[in-house]
């Protein structure tokens, strides 16, 4: 199971297709979940700790607008985990977490400069394009390794150890 970075980072179609073909999508929603549901953090929804701007600074300089650095503090760690990427151009709308074009440019640049397999396609507008879009993504995802990641194996080991403790 490969960790596949998707762009647009909150896309329903990409996230579903990646999961459908047996891989793990790296999406913004999981990052947001950590920020808004973890009660160990200070004051949701303004869950910005002193660590976050530092993380953003790793990807963008100090004179870059804070919106870019804030977004990069969430997107950056995902790019570091990336094992493959699917970039879809001309998204229909860009709002919310994907509403900053400079961040989007920086994200795509960082992903492209990583040495990982990348598929670049366009959002479909007709039946033929949709067929082509799905076929390309399916072919790309099937070409990625399907073995279980180290993290999964670790989680499985922990679970079995817990079960044994209970016994």
């Amino acid at each position: 199971m490969a960790k596949v970075f998707i762009y647009p980072i909150n896309s329903l179609i990409l996230s579903d297709l990646v999961e459908r073909f047996g891989h793990k999508p790296l999406s913004m929603m999981n990052q947001i979940r950590e920020k808004v549901t973890s009660i160990s953090l200070d004051s949701p929804p303004i869950n910005i700790t002193s660590e976050d701007p530092k993380m953003g600074l790793k990807y963008a300089a100090i004179e870059v607008p804070p919106g870019v650095r804030g977004r990069m503090s969430l997107i950056g760690p995902l790019i570091e985990e990336t094992e493959a990427a699917i970039i879809v151009e001309n998204p229909p709308t860009n709002f919310g977490c994907v509403g900053c074009d400079r961040t989007n440019e920086l994200t795509k640049y960082l992903v492209r400069s990583k040495d990982v397999p990348i598929l670049e396609v366009k959002y479909p507008e007709s039946e033929e394009e949709a067929r082509d879009f799905v076929n390309k993504i399916a072919e790309f995802l099937e070409s990625l390794p399907k073995e279980k990641s180290e993290e999964d194996e670790k989680a499985k080991e922990e679970k079995t150890a817990e079960m044994e403790d209970k016994k």
Partner: protein
């Protein structure tokens, strides 16, 4: 600093099917008696619960019409005051616009997945403009009538 007891996750189940309605999917979840929170929306369902329960529920619902039911994660839990329209005084929640645009594309994606499943060759080039086949026309009429 307290830790959460059990990891809770939330998922969107977006239904773009001619056979399954959001209410059918919701009933299926109630029948299954999983301890999850379900919210019915215009495009499908939002479900919140522990990771194991949600993964089981989502897989069960996907099997109702697997090429026309799409699933994605959501950061905020169901009915969260920071996102719920009731407490924000109306207007779509942030993030809905992008989802709505993608939901409009789902019939095309679903049809492409159907074709892929029917073992059609993976590398199929887009065709040149040609006359509509009778069989294709029949499929379109059947899909329209079944709505």
């Amino acid at each position: 600093m307290t830790e959460m007891k059990k990891e809770e996750i939330t998922k969107y189940i977006v239904i773009s099917s001619d056979k399954v309605l959001p209410s059918d999917a919701a009933m299926k979840i109630y029948e299954s008696e999983f301890p999850v929170t379900v919210k019915e929306t215009c495009f499908g369902l939002v479900v919140t619960g522990s990771r194991e329960d949600i993964m089981a529920v989502v897989e069960k619902i996907r099997q109702l019409d697997k090429n026309h039911i799409f699933i994605k994660d959501r950061g905020f839990p169901v009915g969260d005051e920071r996102r719920c329209r009731a407490t924000r005084g109306g207007s779509p929640r942030p993030g809905f616009h992008f989802l709505r645009e993608e939901v409009g594309m789902l019939p095309l994606i679903g049809a492409a997945l159907d074709e892929l499943e029917a073992n059609k060759p993976l590398k199929k080039k887009p065709k040149e403009k040609s006359r509509l086949k009778v069989s294709d026309l029949e499929n379109i009429i059947e899909a329209e009538l079944s709505r």
